[in-house]
Amino acid sequence: MTAPPPLPKWADLFVLPVINLLVAFFICGLIILALGENPISALVVMVKGAFVYPGSLGYTLYYTTNFIFTALAVAIAFHAMMFNIGGEGQAALGGLGGGLVCLWLAPSLPAGIVLPLAILGAAAFGAAWGVVPGYLQARRGSHIVITTIMFNFIAASLMVWLLGGPLLQQGQQSPQTEAFEPAGQMPKMHDLLGGLGIETTSSPLNLSFVLALLVLVGFWVLIWRTRLGYEIRTVGHNPDAAHYAGINVPRTIIVAMAIAGGLAGLMSINELQGVQHRVILDFTAGYGFTGIAVALMGRNHPIGIFLASLLFGALYQGGSELDFEFQSITRDMVLLIQGMIILFSGALAYMFNPPLARFIARVAAKRLEARHV
């Protein structure tokens, strides 16, 4: 077999991801069919559940917010050619940092001071949990994948211990802290919009969504418009070349992982300050892992990540509708779809590359021929 012609950039960026996505959906459709339900009506229920029912868009965007943060945490590490599987642990620690700020300051200070400090606290604790694997990779040569996996488990144990012991709410059995005072709660979007005279259905969507959008823009500026971003990308492309060009490779890796941890930590603001209003156990609920899928689909670019986050937000919200409408399929279907998406747009990302490239080359050649005739 001869080497396939290179794939045009537009096809690589748009056609290939769409094909991979469609294949993933198609296989999930087959599974739904095998379970004795109609995949088309399941899709309709999910789309309605994600966008049409009152308040559903708010829920979708609320989930989207989580994915934006965890996906950016994966993406920045990817730019430095590192695999950050530690989003779960970094987000959990972020929740701890932000939570401590709110528990400590919210009783005495106004929201205008507490919330920014909580955001900083979440980012700082998340960054701390990212920087250690980064340091171990850069200076001690441990594999970042393994270290971040281990750090997820260590974070989980730490949280179980803290929430079940030192931080446990008085007289509570389930592991959770005291509730945050109002000054430690992110304003809800429907309240803010209501204040402007726009009536919307209430949903968990809160100001963190705006924070996420700002962070997306900041991410673009950081990666493509700053010296640090240039260094991160250079290290990612070729660490040797980066070293000879005078870039401090270990330092860049450590900084990238610190930012990654901070970004993952911010996810907790949406969940805890936004909705739960206390630190609870397992609030990360796999968002850190899903962030990997989102980053893969979004090709580590803010616009791609926003679109992919929206897709996954819609999947999560639409998937919860499945519980009400069907006997045999539930929201767990979403995990399956998610796994398929990671498989096809991640691990098998280039399976359809050669055939697609051949097809496009053939069409282009035909067109050229037609023009000459």
């Binding site: 599974i31 379970l35 004795g36 695999f83 599987i85 171990l136 001690r140 040569g141 441990s142 594999h143 994948v145 393994i146 270290t147 996996i149 281990m150 750090f151 488990f153 260590i154 144990s157 730490l158 179980v160 211990w161 892992f289 990997i292 899928a293 893969l296 006997q327 045999s328 399929i329 539930t330 767990d332 279907m333 979403v334 995990l335 399956l336 779809i337 998610q338 796994g339 398929m340 990671i342 498989l343 991640g346 691990a347 098998l348 990302a349 280039y350 399976m351």
Partner: protein, 322 residues
Amino acid sequence: MSEFLFQALLTLDGTVRVATPLILCAMAGMFSERSGVIDISLEGKLLVGAFVAATIAYFTGSPWLAVFCAIGASVLVALIHGFACITHRGNQVVSGLAINILAAGVTVVVAIALFRQGGQTPILDRGDRFGPMEFWFVETLDPIPMLGAVYREFISGHNPITYLALLVVPASAYLLYRTRFGLRLRAVGEVPAAVDTAGVSVAWLRYRAVLLAGVLCGIAGAYLSIGQGAGFVPEMSAGKGYIALAAVIFGKWRPVPAFLACLMFGFLEALSARLQGIDLPLIGEAPTHLMLALPYIMTVLLLAGFIGRASPPAAIGVPYTK
């Protein structure tokens, strides 16, 4: 003193129980990783094996058939991993992650469709699963002090899969160090180009390693749902695949040290279960959370070179291109 001995025996008994799936998964991970294929999908294969074993045992009542089907399902999952990592040279970590998430989803989805019990299988009857294997002479030896109790609690009375797991370790060591296949397997994880030059297929070797991992994880999964447990529960693998992976690293990708690491991790878990809420002299309340996190912490320290040095196979994670 006899009370202490009894407690110690129960803890050791628990250690073996907890370590069984870890040992099988660690050997699986070792084969895969020694061939150069990173396997974080141990967890997913374990889960699929557990689900299929419980389901087949429920419908047929035959634990043996259940184990074979669990192996089949786990091998199928391993094939996906191989297809992505070996045939299509995909990212091995991404593939493993996809499999873990897929496994968590597919087991629950199918379980709900089949049983409508929130993702669980019905509780299995005693006859549908593996019970403890009583050895001979337990009654005869029982009156002998010490020896009788040790024989009854520690040597005899385990699950058949536990004894199988203990046999798998020397078998794995033999396969890896004393056979042609093992030699080539080790070579393909270090310098695949050399193996290729010698006219041996890199892809086929790696496929065999990955499939072997599938077989072992399938057995481990069956142990969870029809050996130790009595049915499938969502997420019942509960990170055991990852602990096994940690044990592989802790054992520096070698069978016997990895086995010892599994025993140590199993011991920590069994001990922490036993010490839950108990006050120890000098220390106060037993730090059970710390003990449960210790395997992960020690693995991190080892990888960072603070306690010994663990260097992975040279070609690990790198797809082979001619």
